[in-house]
């Protein structure tokens, strides 16, 4: 067996005693099976190969690994490459056996080497790599104002119901804010509207309803409009009162609009803005510009409509602080447009009927987000703004 001896000599000559042996089977799945297959072909070559793969597995760093690799399989000087170069000079039978064994061995060494190289790279990234927990370089991001979020949600909802936006002035003539909306002169209903004036008959609108008058004077029925905007009341400011706040009014005028249409619309609003199955009720209320007048309440979310809340471990129940025990929370005012309003804009109340509603953005936002201090809306403390 001189030929095979030559090959094993060639292989073993390239081994370096400084190489530490490792365990290649831990690196490469199927290593043992492939080594066994190699040994079936050539016991001697298998033994020599095992020394290389052990050295590869034992390499501590990329440089050592590279040295072993070069000694074994480099194209020019690798032991296996050189051994393969010997094959053409061998007899056919040995050529076949040794060739097969060498090819198996070389492939195995290369596979172990590749696995080891990847393991070393993984290890290097692990200790010298990126601390992925460090904060990233975040760009600045802006948040829409919480009232804008509520407004947009409402406008989107009403847009879907066919209501377009109509904008009217914040500084308004008294006749649009009061007279044409059927507020009689010297009527106590005006007491609910403490008014800022800039001139004897020019004021800051106290509600968004003057928009209806302007829209109806400008356009012919049918109309389906919403009127978002800022309104003003000359009131002392405290935790629950601001002298400026925001409303959205709605108006639908057509041939035969009824309270049934109104009720459906208000319930759609409540289901969309509160929750799908929120209990609601409508009850009578007085506003000069509607007849009949409607108030809509939704069930109090704080006490779940029980009127009482339980607190602390003693579980003593007390009257719900939000609905004051009434089980309901007012969310909006509405009603059928008063015939006098139609007359004031030149519509004939026998030809058309209509409903209108109005709601406050602050009330909705406060209920939804648990905001207790109305002044926060216009203070613009960033710590407040960036929550929403």
């Amino acid at each position: 067996m001189p030929a095979i001896q030559g090959i094993t000599d060639l292989l073993t000559r390239r081994l370096d005693p400084a190489w530490k042996p490792g365990e290649p089977s831990a690196l490469l799945a199927g290593y043992r099976e492939r080594m066994a297959a190699l040994a079936m072909v050539s016991q001697e070559i298998a033994q020599a190969t095992a020394v290389f793969t052990a050295a590869i597995a034992g390499a501590d760093d990329v440089a050592t690994l590279q040295a072993v690799r070069n000694a074994a399989v480099s194209r020019e000087s690798g032991a296996f490459s050189q051994a393969l170069a010997l094959l053409p000079g061998l007899p056919d039978s040995e050529k076949r056996v040794s060739g097969k064994a060498l090819n198996l061995a070389k492939a195995l060494v290369e596979a172990v080497e590749k696995a080891k190289r990847e393991a070393l790279e993984r290890a290097r990234e692990g200790d010298g790599g990126i601390d992925v927990t460090l904060p990233g370089r975040r760009p600045w991001t802006g948040r829409p104002h919480v009232l804008a979020q509520v407004r947009e949600e409402l406008l989107d909802l009403f847009h879907g119901l066919g209501f377009s936006v109509y904008t009217s002035p914040e500084v308004e003539l008294e006749t649009y804010n009061f007279g044409k909306l059927n507020f009689a002169p010297d009527h106590p209903a005006r007491d609910a509207h403490d008014t800022y004036f800039v001139a004897p008959d020019v004021l800051l609108r106290t509600h968004t309803s003057p928009g209806w008058v302007r829209a109806m004077e400008e356009r012919k029925p049918p109309l389906r409009l919403v009127f978002p905007g800022r309104v003003y009341r000359a009131e002392a400011v405290d935790a629950s009162h601001m002298d400026q706040f925001h409303q959205i009014d709605g108006l639908y005028v057509a041939k035969n609009v009824s309270m049934a249409d109104l009720k459906a619309t208000l319930n759609t609003f409540a289901r969309a803005i509160y929750r799908r199955d929120v209990p609601t009720r409508i009850i009578p209320i007085y506003f000069p510009f509607v007849e009949p007048g409607v108030q809509m309440d939704v069930q109090c979310a704080t006490c779940a409509g029980t009127g009482v809340t339980r607190e602390g471990s003693t579980a003593t129940s007390r009257r719900c602080p939000v609905c004051k025990g009434t089980k309901w929370v007012e969310v909006l005012g509405a009603g059928m447009v008063h015939p006098n309003v139609f007359k004031a804009v030149g519509y004939n109340p026998e030809d058309v009927t209509g409903f209108a509603f109005g709601m406050g953005l602050e009330r909705i936002a406060m209920g939804r987000h648990g905001i207790h201090e109305i002044r926060e809306f216009l203070q613009n403390d960033i710590r407040f703004l960036e929550q929403f």
């Binding site: 600045w140 209903a189 002298d243 459906a264 319930n267 009720r281």
Partner: protein
């Protein structure tokens, strides 16, 4: 308005719990805000007599008492200073739960046994008094207490009191009777016998000699005035039942005569006034307008200057009361009063309101008169007072009464059931309509169209639709069906205004600015400074005539004051960075009656360029870009440029701008074509001191209306060129006075449409630049839509562009480095 259940039951037979009554009223438009209990029960508290009170052997401030609680003698340790032998007191026996939840136990206090607690008024939550034990013989005068009897047997039954919000159009709801009528209709009760008698009562016939001359100047302003003289009255404390009744309404007892006027006020919503008749001069009552210069000191002790808006009650010489508002101090009922003149009047609501408002007064009486007092109930109210007065003052002698009145026209309205159906959306037949109206005591003539006569207490019902509401209300809003809206092919649209606002907000948000909503009302200094920043005449500022405070007296001319207030607030609270914008309205006066409302955006930024902090400090030379540095003009301008691009503003022109409030040399105006649309720059530090801001702040203001068109225009697509672009870099030395914009203008002017883009990529000034010059380097891209460009045509263009800069800006081409 408070409604005690006991008072309600006096008027209607109704078998319903307070909650049911509350619900009935609420669903009929009288919103019940809550149900309180007036009075309480004290199980375990008994009447006791203190037999002996000795000093506690081991404590200076405690007494050791022997007490008779009815079931044998008890030893009780007591801390009150006023405890004395013989006192009748409430005793909480062992096992009693006090109103605050404390349970009384037998205990040893400083070594002495205590078998119960003697109670103070406050411990019982009966009075505010905590100075000592409640001395029952002082607290409830004239009552014989039996030791050992439950304390409760000496107290009125606890009563549920409903707090009812009365709509402005329902004056009848300002009295128990009116609410009782609603409850009766809602729950199907009936008037009690007592109620029926009281409603139909009239003042006794009038045999006596008429001693008072009564004159009403204008019957429209005083449709009814009744005056009754009562002699021999004795002013004194009211009986307990009356005190309790008023207490439940939140009204303090004054004396028997006055308390009775309040009783009738709360019951029948008819204000009454008792004059001391001996203080009225000339045996005359005149209902007239006040004359300029007249004055009256009212019951509250305040001297008031009257004016001709005020209707007064006067005697021969002077006003003695503000009609429907408040009596005068001179003719007030006092302990010395023996003869009264009782006034029971109906005044015109508008007149009372104007008078009360002109004097800035509002009283229980004026609130009722402003809404409208029931003419039809007025005489029954007078009778009710007089009946009770005689009960309370057995010596009282009713003498003469006089009444001047003009009967109001009865009101009748036609109601079509079809109108009900059309408005309510629910078919309600004529018969049902009639029943519902009759339940509220409307008179109904039944026919196809109902003839409805409106009761005197319902001034709110003047047109057919008012009756529709009555029908809807009485039938129940809960019965109204839901009819989901149909669009009928209609759809909602968005206006250009909405589009521009939406894009303006979203673009600012995308640039990392939070959205602020600021006050529209600002102080004078803020308003004037803000106006000057954008070149507005401070004379066009709009001022409130009735501000609540100096800081909110002016309408903002633009959004700057609010944003600077917000910046100041945040910086004061330690924010390292402020990036805020607002989209809103500014106000300046115009030639029209209404001011001009300008839609705009404004933004402020202050603080570092970049928000991260943990990177190593750069070691690059001074002047190199440092992400930690404070924002400077170019950083802020970059934001505004990006915003303008998002608004589809094509080639905005930035020009130097100077005005009060800007840091000199660090502000610009932005123009598009011929119109100026915005301002940007750093705010001068002396202006920032107005808001107490030390940091440097950059500001941007832009008008949105001029941008509306562009922001909502439909964009026509351009196909990107398929042929390779040619890039040429050109660097020029240009005199420092020549702006980048000027150089770029020259380059563009000389180019053909083959020029695709120009980008400034370097600005340099330092070693190597000729004196007075700086270097500007541009990357030019050329591209042809349909073919590859030739070297020759690019070179020719380039030569022309270089020549333009050389000639137009005095620049020179830099040799290639």
């Amino acid at each position: 308005m408070k409604l005690p259940m006991s008072w309600l039951r006096e008027w209607v037979d109704v078998d319903a719990a307070p909650e049911q009554v509350a619900d009935a009223l609420t669903t009929r438009g009288f919103y019940v805000e809550g149900v309180e209990t007036h009075g309480r029960r004290y199980p375990g508290v008994v009447i006791a007599r203190v037999l002996e009170a000795a000093k506690h052997p081991n404590a200076d401030k405690l007494s050791l008492c022997r007490v008779d609680g009815g079931a044998g003698e008890l030893k009780i340790v007591c801390g009150a200073p006023n405890v004395t032998a013989g006192m009748i007191v409430p005793l909480a026996t062992v096992g009693t739960t006090m109103p605050n939840g404390l349970v009384i136990k037998a205990a040893k206090i400083r070594g002495e046994e205590s078998q119960g607690m003697l109670c103070s008024g406050r411990e019982l939550q009966l009075t505010e008094d905590h100075d000592g034990i409640l001395d029952l013989r002082t607290f409830m005068k004239g009552i014989e207490f039996v030791v050992g009897k439950p304390f409760d047997s000496y107290l009125p039954e606890p009563d549920a009191v409903l707090e009812v919000e009365i709509p402005f159009n329902r004056p009848d709801g300002m009295g128990v009777v009116g609410l009782a009528r609603e409850v009766k209709a809602a729950l199907g009760g009936r008037w009690t016998d007592k109620a029926r008698a009281r409603l139909s009562a009239q003042p006794a016939s009038n045999p006596a000699r008429v001693t008072y001359d009564l004159d009403v100047e204008d019957a429209a302003e005083c449709p009814s005035y009744f005056a009754q003289v009562v002699e021999g009255v004795r002013v004194g404390p009211s009986p307990t039942w009356l005190v309790d009744k008023l207490a439940a309404m939140g009204q303090r007892s004054i004396n028997n005569l006055v308390d009775l006027t309040n009783l009738v006020l709360f019951e029948m919503a008819q204000p009454l006034h008792a004059f001391d008749a001996n203080q009225l001069h000339g045996s005359a009552i005149r209902v007239r307008r006040a004359k300029a210069g007249e004055a009256l000191t009212t019951l509250d002790g305040k001297p008031r200057k009257l004016n001709p808006e005020v209707l007064v009650i006067a005697d021969k010489q002077r006003p003695v009361a503000l009609a429907g508002v408040m009596g005068g101090a001179d003719s007030e009922v006092t302990e010395a009063t023996t003869t009264i003149l009782l006034e029971c009047a109906v005044f015109q609501p508008q007149r009372v309101r104007r008078g009360a408002r002109s004097l800035e007064l509002s009283t229980e009486a004026s609130k009722r008169y402003e809404r409208g007092v029931d003419f039809g109930l007025s005489m029954a109210a007078a009778a009710r007072y007089l009946t009770l007065l005689v009960e309370l003052c057995p010596g009282a002698k009713l003498t003469a009464w006089r009444r001047k009145f003009v009967e109001p026209q009865p009101r009748s309205i036609a109601l079509r059931p079809s109108r009900c159906e059309r408005l309510i959306g629910l078919p309600i037949g004529a018969g049902r309509c009639a029943e519902l109206l009759e339940s509220l005591e409307f008179g109904v003539h039944r026919a196809d169209t109902l003839g409805v006569s409106v009761p005197t207490w319902r001034p709110d019902c003047t047109i057919e639709d008012d009756l529709v509401e009555e029908v809807a209300r009485a039938n129940g809003y809960d019965k109204i069906p839901e009819a989901p809206l149909e669009t009928g092919g209609a759809y909602a649209t968005r206006s250009t205004r909405e589009r521009v606002v939406r894009r303006a907000r979203e673009s600012m948000l995308a640039l990392g600015l939070h959205e602020a909503w600021c006050s529209s009302l600002v102080g004078e200094v803020e308003a004037a400074a803000a106006a000057k920043l954008v070149g507005d005449d401070p004379g066009r500022l709009v001022k409130l005539t009735n501000p609540m405070s100096r800081e909110s007296e002016w309408l903002r001319p633009n959004l700057v004051p609010g944003l600077l207030r917000a910046a100041a607030l945040n910086l004061r609270q330690g924010a390292s960075s402020v990036r805020l914008f607002e989209v809103g309205t500014g106000f300046v006066s115009s030639h029209e009656p209404l001011p001009q409302e300008r839609l705009m955006v404004a933004a402020v930024v202050a603080g570092p360029r970049w928000r991260h902090t943990h990177d190593p400090v750069p070691t690059a030379p001074r002047g190199a870009y440092d992400p930690r540095a404070e924002l400077e003009f170019a950083d802020a301008k970059g934001l505004w440029e990006a915003w303008l691009a998002e608004m589809r503003v094509d080639a905005p022109e930035w020009r130097p701008y100077a005005a009060d409030g800007w840091k000199s040399g660090a502000s610009a105006e932005v123009a598009v074509g011929a119109s100026r649309i915005g301002w940007a720059g750093r705010i001068a530090q002396d202006l920032l001191r107005t808001w107490e801001i030390e940091a440097s702040v950059h500001l941007f203001v832009a008008m949105l209306e001029p941008l509306a068109e562009g922001a909502s225009a439909v964009i026509r697509a351009r196909t990107p060129g398929r042929f390779p672009p040619v890039r040429r870099d050109l660097a020029f030395f240009v005199p420092r006075g020549a702006s980048h914009a000027a150089v770029e203008r020259q380059l563009r002017g000389a180019a053909s449409d083959l020029l695709h883009s120009i980008e400034l990529f370097d600005v340099y000034e330092g070693p190597g630049t000729p004196a007075g010059m700086r270097s500007l380097a541009y990357a030019l891209q050329f591209q042809h839509a349909e073919r590859t460009l030739t070297e020759a045509e690019v070179s020719e263009l380039q030569t022309r562009m270089v020549a333009a800069v050389v000639q137009g800006c005095g620049g020179q081409l830099r040799e290639r480095a």
